[in-house]
Symmetry: D2
Subunit: 341 residues, 4 copies
Amino acid sequence: MQLGMVGLGRMGANLVRRLMRDGHRCVVNDVSPDAVRALEGEGATPAFSLEELVERLERPRTVWLMVPAGVVQETLDHLVGLLDPDDTVIDGGNSYYRDDIARARALAEHGIRYVDCGTSGGVWGLERGYCLMIGGEPGPVERLAPLFRTIAPGAGSAAPTPGRTRTDGTAPQGYLHCGPSGAGHFVKMVHNGVEYGMMAAVAEGLGIIKHADAGLRARTADAETAPLSDPEAYRYEIDVAEVAEVWRRGSVVGSWLVDLTADALARSPQLDDFTGRVSDSGEGRWTVLAAIEESVPAPVISAALYQRYESRGLGEFTAKVLSAMRSEFGGHAEKRSGADA
Amino acid sequence: MQLGMVGLGRMGANLVRRLMRDGHRCVVNDVSPDAVRALEGEGATPAFSLEELVERLERPRTVWLMVPAGVVQETLDHLVGLLDPDDTVIDGGNSYYRDDIARARALAEHGIRYVDCGTSGGVWGLERGYCLMIGGEPGPVERLAPLFRTIAPGAGSAAPTPGRTRTDGTAPQGYLHCGPSGAGHFVKMVHNGVEYGMMAAVAEGLGIIKHADAGLRARTADAETAPLSDPEAYRYEIDVAEVAEVWRRGSVVGSWLVDLTADALARSPQLDDFTGRVSDSGEGRWTVLAAIEESVPAPVISAALYQRYESRGLGEFTAKVLSAMRSEFGGHAEKRSGADA
Amino acid sequence: MQLGMVGLGRMGANLVRRLMRDGHRCVVNDVSPDAVRALEGEGATPAFSLEELVERLERPRTVWLMVPAGVVQETLDHLVGLLDPDDTVIDGGNSYYRDDIARARALAEHGIRYVDCGTSGGVWGLERGYCLMIGGEPGPVERLAPLFRTIAPGAGSAAPTPGRTRTDGTAPQGYLHCGPSGAGHFVKMVHNGVEYGMMAAVAEGLGIIKHADAGLRARTADAETAPLSDPEAYRYEIDVAEVAEVWRRGSVVGSWLVDLTADALARSPQLDDFTGRVSDSGEGRWTVLAAIEESVPAPVISAALYQRYESRGLGEFTAKVLSAMRSEFGGHAEKRSGADA
Amino acid sequence: MQLGMVGLGRMGANLVRRLMRDGHRCVVNDVSPDAVRALEGEGATPAFSLEELVERLERPRTVWLMVPAGVVQETLDHLVGLLDPDDTVIDGGNSYYRDDIARARALAEHGIRYVDCGTSGGVWGLERGYCLMIGGEPGPVERLAPLFRTIAPGAGSAAPTPGRTRTDGTAPQGYLHCGPSGAGHFVKMVHNGVEYGMMAAVAEGLGIIKHADAGLRARTADAETAPLSDPEAYRYEIDVAEVAEVWRRGSVVGSWLVDLTADALARSPQLDDFTGRVSDSGEGRWTVLAAIEESVPAPVISAALYQRYESRGLGEFTAKVLSAMRSEFGGHAEKRSGADA
C-alpha cells in the first residue's frame, strides 16, 4: 500500500523503514527538511509540506501522524482542508483517547475517516515490530490491515498461547482493533499504566537488593531516624546487575523490562549516568484518572505514578508541612527534632 | 506519691513539674548534672547517680525511665542490681513493645515489676496533660494510679462521649491500662502510626491547595512531562495558612494536628524554615510491620511512611533504575527522553 | 438578613434553624411540602415553589441552594428566569468546583451573582456551627457576611492560634473567602480528601489494635497463607473502644473524628451494625484528580480512596486476574495453590 | 553427580526428572511412599526414610530439601544426626533468609555445609528450567555447579544482553551465587515481591480495560456514590483476552506473566472459575519488611501485598470503623448515609 507519514522522529522514521522493507510505498513529511531528505535517501518520496504530501498520495489517501500530542490538533486542522472524503488519517502517537472521540466526529463531518492507533515498541520496533492497539470504524481499519500486518511483530514473534482455541483474530500477529474511536488509545494508555507499575516493581525490588548491605554501613545514630533493628540481617553486597541478568532466564518475572534493566546495569552497574528524576507523560496519569472514574481500585499503578512525582521533588511543600507539624508538637527544629511524641 | 525520674529531657522534666505541681515528690536523675540542678531549683530531690536515686526513694520504689530507646536496656541492667523486690520500673519512652515482653520477664526474676507506658503529648503535655497507654500486671499498674491520674489530662479536658454508658474505666481521664507487658507500647506504637497517616492527609491536602495555582505558572513544555490539561481550572492563589485556620472550627477534620499546622503556617506562611526532609522514628515502621504480620491492610499508614522515606531521598537508586529503563526502551538520555513508548 | 433556602434536608433545615435563632428571616422551599410546613412551624416563611420563594424575597435577593449535586443545574436553570440582576445564588452543597466556574459565568450574563460555599459540619452543625469555604466575587461575598457569621462556629469555638499575629481575616470565625468562583468548593473538596485520609488512618490503626490478638487465634495452616511468624508477640486482647476514648485526651491524634469514633465504639464495641461497605462521594475522587493534574503526590489520600473501593468489592476482576496468574504458574486451583513459585 | 532429593511435590519431582534427563543420579525420599515409588519407576533410587536416603548417597553427600517451609527445621534436625562432615544440604524451598543464617551456623558446628537456593519456575520448570538464586560459602556452591547448570534454563534460553561485556559469571546460564548464607533466599524473596508488583500492574490494567464499559451500565443513582462524570467516555466493550494476547508481541509490557494471563483468559474469558481471593505466602511480606528496615520506599510492592489482603476481606474491621465514622458525622445508617459532610 501507499502511506503518507507526517513526523519523522525516531518512531515515525522507523515505521517508514519497516514499511518500505516490506514493499509499501511511503511519502514522508517533517518540519525538518533534513529528516525528509534522509528518508528520501532510503527510498521514500519526499514532501516538504502537507500540501505536497497530500498531492503525492493516491486516493483514497492514508496519512499517518507520528507527531507530539501537542501538535496533533493543529496538524489535523491543516489537513482537513486538504483531504477528500474517504481519505483516512491515523493518529499513531500518544493522544488522549477522549480527543480521538471528538476528532473522529469532526473529521466525519468532512467524510474523512479517523483511526487512533497506540503504538508500543520504542526504539526497538524497527527490528522487533510494534504492538498496535487500534480504534475506529471497522471499514477503514480493515482497509489498512496490510499496513498493520507489516508494522506488527507477527505471529512468530512469540510462542502460541497454549489455551487459545479461537483461530480468528489478529492479536496473535501483534495488532488489535480494540473498538470504536478512542479504543486504541484507551488500551495504549492503560498499557503504559501497566508499564509504570511493572517498571516500579522491578526498580523497587532491585533497590531493596541494592540496600541489602544496610547493616554494613554506619547509620546516623540520632534520635531522628529509627536505627536498623537487625544490622546482621543486612550484610549482603549483592551484584544487582547479575541479579537482573539471572532473572532473565526461567523466572516468573522474566520480561522485556527485565531484559532492558539487565542491559542498562551491564553498561553502568551503579547507574551513575542517571539522576533519578523520572518523567511521566500523560498516559500514566490518564490511566489513574480512568481507574478513579470507573471506580476500579488501582493502588499499584497510582503508587508508581506518585513515585515518579516524588523523584522530581514535587512533594516538597507537603513534606514541609509534615516537618512543620513535627516541629510544633515536638518543639524542635527540623534537624534536631526527637521522637514523634 | 514519691517517684524517681531518670532522664530529664523535655518530656522527663515536664513530667516531674506536672507531678510536683500536684503534690507528688520527685527524685530526679540525668546524665547532665545541670539538668538535675535545674529541677532541684524547682523543688525536686537531686540524684547524681542511679545509686543515689535508688537510695533516696522509699520502698516499694517507683522509677520512671524517660530516656532514649537506645539506652533503656543499659539503664535497666544497671538498675536491676540496685532495686529490691516489689520495686517498679516504668519505661515511659518509645521502646519497641517486643522488648517490653523480654524486659518484664527478666525483671520478674528479681521480683521487680515492670510497666510500659506510652506517653503522648509532646512539649505541650506540661499544660495539657499526657495521654498514657499502659501495659503490665494489674498490681503495679493499680498502685501507680495516683501518678497516672496526675500526669493525664483528666476527664474535663474533653467533652464526655455522648454514647458512653459505662461509668468505670480510666480512659475518660486520659490514661488506660491496655493489657499485659508490651500492650502500652503497642497501643502507643499504633497511635504514632495513626499520627503519621493523619499528618500526611493534612499535608497532602494543603499541598494540593497550595498548587491550585498550577495553571498560572508556566510549565516546561517538553515531551518529558504531561502538560496540565485544564490550566484554567487551576488558577487559584489560596492562602493556605487561612485554610488551616478555618478548618479549626466546625469542620470534620478539626484536630490538634490542624491546630498545630495553623500555628506553623501563621508563623511562616511559606514554611521557608523547613527543608522537607521528614524523619521517622521507629514506631511508624513497627506499626506497618505489625499490620503486615497480622494480615491487616494498612495502605494509608504505609504510604505515609514511604512518603517520609521519599522526602529524604531514600528512593534514589530505585528511581535511577526507572530512568535507566526509560532510556533503554526510549533510546534517549534521561533529560531528553520522550514519551513512554 | 433575609435568605431563601431551597432544600430542607438535614443540612438545609439546620442552616435555617441556626439562622433564625440568630434573628435572620428565612423563606423556605423543598420538593416536599411537609418539609416546608415543618419549618413554617418553627417560624420560617413557607414557599411551595421556586416562584413563590422568589416572590417572597426582598431585592437584592439571596437564595441558598442546599440540594443534591445532581439537581443543582436544573434548579439554577429554573431560577435564572425568576431572579433579577444583583440577586445572589449560593450553592452550599458539594458541587464540583469546575461546575461553579461555568455557572458563575452563565449567571453573570443575567447580572446574577453566584457564590459557591463548601459547608462542613454534618448533623452536628446546628449546635457547633458550620465551617464555610467560600468562592466568588468579593462584592456578594462581603454582602453576605452577616449570614456567614451566624452559620460559622465563631471565634470562641477554638482557642486562638498562638502564632497568629494578623488581626484581620474571618478564618478564626470559621468562614473564609478562599478566592474567585470555584475556590470555595475547591477547598471543601480537598477538605473531604483530607477527611478520607484522616478517617483511614484512624480506622487502620484501630484495625491493627483489634487484631493484636492474632497470635491467640488459630490460623489456617496451609501453604496458601504465610503463618504468623511470632504468634507470642500478638497475644493482646485490647479494648478498642477504650483506646479511642483515651486518645481523645492529650494525645497527638486528638480530633473530632476520634471523638466520633469513640462514640460509635461506645455504642457498638464490635460495630456489628455496619457491613463495612464504605461509600465515597465525588469529593474524594476529585481531590485525587486534582493532585494528579497538579503533579502533587497524594499517596495517602489515594490509598484511602481505593480502600473504599475495595470495601465495596470493586477490585474483583483485578483479583481474579491475580488468581488466574497464580493458577497458571503454580499449576493449582485457587484454593489449593502453593507458594508463589 | 549424585543427589538426594527430600520432598517429591511438583517442584521436587520435576527437579529430579530434569536432573536425571541430564544424566545425574537421584536418590529420592518423600513422606508419601507412593511418590517415592512413582519416581523409582522413572529411574530414581528410592529411599523410604531419611536414614535410607543418607545411606544410599556417596560421600560427600548432597541432599536437596524441597519441603514446605514449615518442616525444614525438623528435617534438618533429623538429618544433622545422620550426615557427616563435608556433606551438603541445600534448602531449595521458600525459607525465610534469616533462618538460613542460623541454620548454616548450626550445621557448620557439625562440619556440614548449608546452601540456600531460591528456585523460580513453577510448574513450567521441567521444560523451561528453573532460575536459581543461591547463597552460601563458595566451596560447596562451586562443588554443586554441575547440578545448578542442569537445573537452570541455560544461556540459550534468552538472547544475550547486548551491553554485557563481562564473559565470566553464571547469571546468563540462569543461576547465580548471590552471596553468603541467606543471600539466595533474600534475592528469591525480593523476586517474589517484584512478582507481586508486576502481577498487580497487569491485573489492575486489565481491570481498568474491563470496566471501560462503565458508561454503558446503569449506576445506582443515590447520594452514596459519586456518579460517573463522563459516561460517554466509558462506552468501550473491549475484549480483555485479546488485549492480553496482543500485548505479548512487541509491547513494552511483554513478559511471561502477560503470556500466562493471555493463556488464562483464552481458557476462561470471564475468569469465572476464580473467586478472586488471592493468597500470599511469606515472601511478599518479607520483602516489604526488608524495605521498611532498609529505609527503601516500596510503595508499589506494598500496595500489591495489601491488595491481596483486601481481596480476602481482611480489612473488614477497618472498613467498619470508616462506616461508623460516616454514620456519626452524617447521622445516617450505612446504606442511607449521604455525602461526606
